[in-house]
Symmetry: C2
Subunit: 365 residues, 2 copies
């Protein structure tokens, strides 16, 4: 170790990320390998790592890039994938997930990263961080490989809540646009509302009201409303942000992932089929790797919980070190841009406008 | 032409398919090319072709495989993609779509094929063919490339109706299982109900009731119920049939198609990137073509309308001759297996059982 005396984590303007070391499918060694990779690449980052102290100290001691940049908080218990969220809410005080969220709650860290149980993480996040004033339902947003020049679209909600009324969908639009501005650097994101057709008369009643609300709030929300979008627009270039309820979003996400994975496997098979195609695979290796990198979910690993007092990045449960490092990179980027405060301000402004609209209606009635 | 005097279409046990020649993006020449290809491959098939007589006679005369096996029915009007279904229902009597459905209605043909406007085709099909006794909402089923040995899964509803209650979802299970037996030769199809997780406590209330109904009717419906399925199971190997409402199904279908098409385009780009990768593409040509064929939507072209007195195959609007021929092949297969009658019998049996269950409950109450 080069530093005998650790400096304060946030010395020199470092951004501190709170990381739940436990609960991922591959265990804490993978999480530590991932954050070490991030620490190596980015000198402006530091960590608070939550889990069983002895085990984590041993793992961190082996990584020189983490020296003086990673504080450990002891947490004896782990949230397992099969635990019911409600059980964790009542009995999870000693878990690493709870502890990781509390570091954001008490202001020591800006963003929390966890590979653990999504349901438990969402419920604990709501309980410990609380919803932003004006937000009814928080949402999970993901980045989806797309035909847009920046390579990705934002889609939300992909599963925080299976219900969403018109007001919720408007809030998803505001939050998703804010995420696209801060996570993808798009000044005026184009927002679409997911439906079964692009004609205005189509779809469920709550979608028609949401269409009106989203059109009326576009200027205040600093987004361009493109109207209804279809499933094909999720990987397309008509929108930057796709808004839908958590039921539909979750199914679209998993259908897309499953389809991509099937094609990937069939492609591997195709290249193994003949000696000639094996040679071809060798020749095309660099190009194929570039493609794999472009659509590799590990590179954009991380659903982001939006609508809370603080940002939570949910990494895939099966994330390897590359995946963890990608989630940390996203967390860093959002923390650095002051995303959480900007999002809060945007939602607050829209909420007060909605109240004004409602009051005006009451007056004119 | 080898035959001066056309014989009756159904001579020698030929199966007659009614084909709407108009309304596809590529016009009637493509449709005629497609059915000619089918006629060449399959001696047991004959056609009734609907559209403007002069134009169709000219096109058919050029195709020797259609000689004596294709009757033309004059229909002056065409349903366009932008026409509202309700308008066609009121004013579409002279369209080729209406005429094509009426050939099934009056028993001249067993199955109807059209590349036209989906909404209009569904509404006209309901009006002209009527729903099967016991069916509340007809559904559109598609074949989806999957990891299963037979290569495809059945998914329904992909957009006939955006709503579906528990009873409707049960009917989709019965109809989907019947389709898998007759279209994919699966003796006891495994049926899954699409949801955001596989745990029984998850999802919307109507999904919980549908889960109970589908489990209770599995034996009568001659399917195996695997419980809740997730988006990833649509291209997976856990189920043969995936049941969902038309809103979710339509979005899943278009998300999957969009994702596959994005990957295909990125793959083409990747192979053009360097001289080496261009050589690789040449070497791997056969293997890549095999893969493309496996996931080419044209090869499984055709959503099938289920729950009507007669079967309707909806081909992609942009189908080329290969696509039209694939839709005709599917129509032939379903006609030959007596699918329509079998499906009707299955639904009737389940409906009478449901009535018994309801009566039993009333008695015990």
């Amino acid at each position: 170790m080069t530093e005998a005396q650790p400096r304060s984590l946030s010395d020199g303007g470092r951004i501190v990320i709170s990381v739940d070391a436990m609960g991922g499918d591959r265990g804490p060694a993978t999480v530590v390998a991932g954050i070490s990779r991030s620490a190596k690449k980015n000198p402006d980052i530091a960590f608070i790592l939550h889990g069983p102290r002895d085990e984590l100290e041993r793992l961190v001691a082996k990584r020189r890039h983490l020296a003086g940049r990673c504080e450990i908080r002891d947490a004896a218990d782990t949230v397992r994938m099969e635990d019911k969220p409600s059980h964790i809410m009542r009995h999870g005080q000693n878990t690493s997930m709870w502890s990781a969220l509390d570091s954001v709650r008490n202001g020591e860290a800006t963003v929390c990263v966890s590979c653990g149980n999504t349901g438990a993480l969402m419920l604990l996040s709501m309980v410990r961080l609380k919803k932003l004033p004006g937000v009814n339902r928080p949402a999970i947003a993901v980045l989806w490989p797309s035909r847009n020049p920046h390579g990705f679209n934002v889609m939300l909600d992909v599963g925080a809540d299976i219900r969403a009324d018109a007001q919720d969908l408007l809030q998803y639009a505001l939050m998703g646009a804010s995420y696209a501005r801060n996570g993808l650097d798009i000044t005026t994101p184009r927002v679409g509302l997911l439906n079964v057709g692009t004609e205005e008369h189509k779809g469920r009643p709550e979608l028609k009201s949401a269409h009106e609300l989203m059109a009326a709030n576009a200027e205040k929300g600093n987004y361009q409303f493109v109207g209804f979008a279809e499933g094909g627009d999720i990987p397309g270039d008509r929108c930057d942000v796709i808004v839908t309820d958590g039921f539909t979003g979750n199914i679209a996400l998993k259908t897309g992932e499953g389809t991509a994975s099937l094609i990937g496997d069939l492609l591997k098979e195709a290249f193994k089929y003949t000696p000639l195609s094996r040679i071809a695979a060798l020749l095309a290796l660099t190009s194929l790797r570039r493609l794999a990198k472009r659509i590799d979910p590990r590179r954009v690993n991380g659903g982001v919980f939006l609508g809370l007092n603080g940002t939570v990045v949910k990494s895939h449960g099966s994330a390897d070190a590359t995946g963890v490092s990608a989630a940390v990179k996203l967390a860093f980027q959002l923390a650095q841009s002051g995303f959480s405060d900007r999002l809060a301000a945007r939602v607050a402004a829209a909420t007060s406008q909605l109240h004004e609209m409602t009051n005006d209606k009451d007056k004119s009635a």
